[in-house]
Symmetry: C2
Subunit: 341 residues, 2 copies
DNA sequence: CGCTAAAGGTATAGCGCTAAACCTAGCATG
DNA sequence: CATGCTAGGTTTAGCGCTATACCTTTAGCG
């Protein structure tokens, strides 16, 4: 049989409530002698509190949900970028004695279900579109602390944490423009009207304005964030857009696909076409030449998410709203001046 | 206030127990009319059962722990290989209405704590050493279903699921030997005496025996499974082992590091030195030339883990013990015959 | 001396659910 | 007619914990 609070209490000769208080650190009204005695017995008997009983009685689970979109039969698409976030989230939460529950979300209303079923104290939304986050209402969310990674949604129920995508893209585009490129492609997933991609798109445009470069030089393409789609886009560029001398992509994996596609089509990187990625994942340095890319501080992003989450949970106040971290360009080997004709 | 079973019961004019039975699919002794009425009300009121109350009353949480070693201040080291596993685990478990709780383990006895605190129905051990798994006793584990990924531990409390590492390494080594290589390096983490690495090491040796090649030709080195360590090893090989014409590594990331190190030292891959990786991750095709590597069916591995887990949970029987899946060699561009002198 | 306040607890009443045992009406059966 | 069986439920008694309110004893103080 399980060792319970009652057992400890009986052995220590106090009421269960006192043991509960000691274990939960509410020691103001307990004598030091009693505290020591209880802790010794707890240790000895290997008592571990029942989390379910706690959640039930205290109406708080100390679980944070990690909610990730799951497309039907597919398993979760966890990008390398996401993995790093998960690792840091777990560590930070564990430090504060919270637990992480991973849950794939197929339909958006499963969010509410997940939150209520487990009495989650909070949740991190990872990889949702802004439109989906916009849809969250007070009825679904309740009094749960919510943080949305890489979101620009204005929904006050889910605080956004993101790096400065506008600036990141602007720096990348400026870099290409300064190198002398004028016909530049923008390749990213098809959500130009909202969120992260929108920001990067706008940053990209801004650089053109700032450089006084004609916007007609830009080729904007919707390309899925996969290696395969990037490769196909590389082929397409080579075949149908010979005037393009540089490509900005919204993800390293996409950039690497594009590189491969271009090379297969007989073009050199950066000799004929320059390529810029986004995220500065490890893989950026695995390709030859090494990928020029925009770096964001992913561990910091995750740490901020936890801070925001716990801020909402412990103080009842709703903290300062969305937080935006920096982004900067890492120049490596895939960018150079355009070929002189 | 939360909508509870009682509320539903009151509205439907039945006892809470009947509602409970209907919701849990134990409908044998309930009339169809009552079932329909209850389900309609549940739907209408948006009733979501409280998981904590359930766990407490039923002594079963429907949570599976995903336990991963966490080295102190570092965040979880989740390799790309691991990520894929996590995604599949989540999907398979969700299908069966189980949930996944991610937990970093710093000291081995935290496993017991995690299991008991949340009343876990089972757990997947990901990334532990065989020696650690060997140490798990019935007292720590209790009646919890345990599956250890990539383990060769004989501990009957934690069923191993792995691919055939012996054969994988044997195929890789045979490939190199058949190409004519005789001075071959084996590079892998320093756990030669146990588990996965042991199997691969033995498979590697076996290939030498089978080919009638002199074992003196082998150079066995302990190299951490990181890009940086691989790169350093590449340098070392070039400087101190010019006789070596091929390298077998226990991980793609390591192989990629070695490639980079060799190239930096002025050697060509595969012109001067052939390289073989392990896992066939996406990154294996990102490098130039593309990496020859040993592939394992990772989704299948995860699916088997879930099957084993649920088998233990639902039927009380302990299933058939460890399961080993296949492994096969993917020949790409990093292997060729040794240079003729 | 009477009163207050602090220290150090305890008692009560759930949290929301489920396992297990029990109940009852209605019908068939020998 | 006594009996058993079945369908369709209900009752009881917790699971292990915590929030809240309450109760003593002792010392301090004017």
């Amino acid at each position: 049989m399980r060792v319970t609070l009652k057992d400890i209490a009986a052995e220590a000769g106090v009421s269960p409530m006192t043991v509960s208080n000691v274990i939960n650190g509410k020691r103001a009204r307990v004598s030091q002698a009693t505290i020591d005695r209880i802790l010794r017995i707890v240790e000895q008997r290997g008592y571990v509190p029942s989390a379910s009983a706690r959640s039930l009685a205290a109406r708080s689970s100390r679980i944070i949900g990690l909610l990730v979109p799951a497309a039907g039969e597919d398993s979760l698409t966890i990008s390398p970028h996401t993995v790093e976030i998960i690792g840091v989230l777990e560590r930070e939460l564990r430090k504060h004695d919270y637990h992480l529950m991973l849950r794939g979300i197929e339909r958006i209303d499963e969010i509410a279900e997940a939150l209520r079923s487990w009495n989650l104290d909070g949740a991190v939304l990872l990889g949702f579109q802004d439109v989906e986050i916009d849809r969250l209402g007070p009825d679904t969310v309740g009094r749960v602390a919510l943080v949305a990674m890489d979101s620009y949604s204005e929904n006050p129920l889910a605080l956004g944490v993101r790096s400065d995508d506008f600036t990141g893209a602007r720096l990348a585009a400026r870099h290409l423009l300064e190198l002398g490129h004028r016909r530049i492609a923008f390749a990213g997933p098809a959500f130009f009207d909202t969120g992260v991609v929108r920001q990067r798109y706008e940053g990209f445009r801004r650089a053109f304005v700032e450089a006084g470069a004609p916007w007609e030089g830009a080729v904007v393409a919707a390309v899925e964030t996969t290696h395969a789609a990037g490769r196909a886009f590389g082929h397409l560029l080579a075949a149908e857009h010979p005037e393009v001398t540089a490509v900005f992509t919204t993800a390293d994996i996409l950039a690497i696909g594009v590189m491969e596609g271009l090379v297969e089509a007989g073009l050199a990187v950066p000799g004929d076409v320059s390529v810029v990625g986004y995220d500065d994942l490890d893989i950026a340095t695995f390709v030859t030449p090494k990928l020029t890319t925009v770096a964001q501080d992913i561990p910091a992003k995750a740490a901020v998410a936890v801070r925001l989450l716990l801020g909402q949970i412990t103080r009842e106040e709703h903290p300062d709203a969305a937080i935006t971290l920096g982004a900067n360009l890492i120049e490596r080997g895939t960018t150079a001046g355009p070929k002189l004709e």
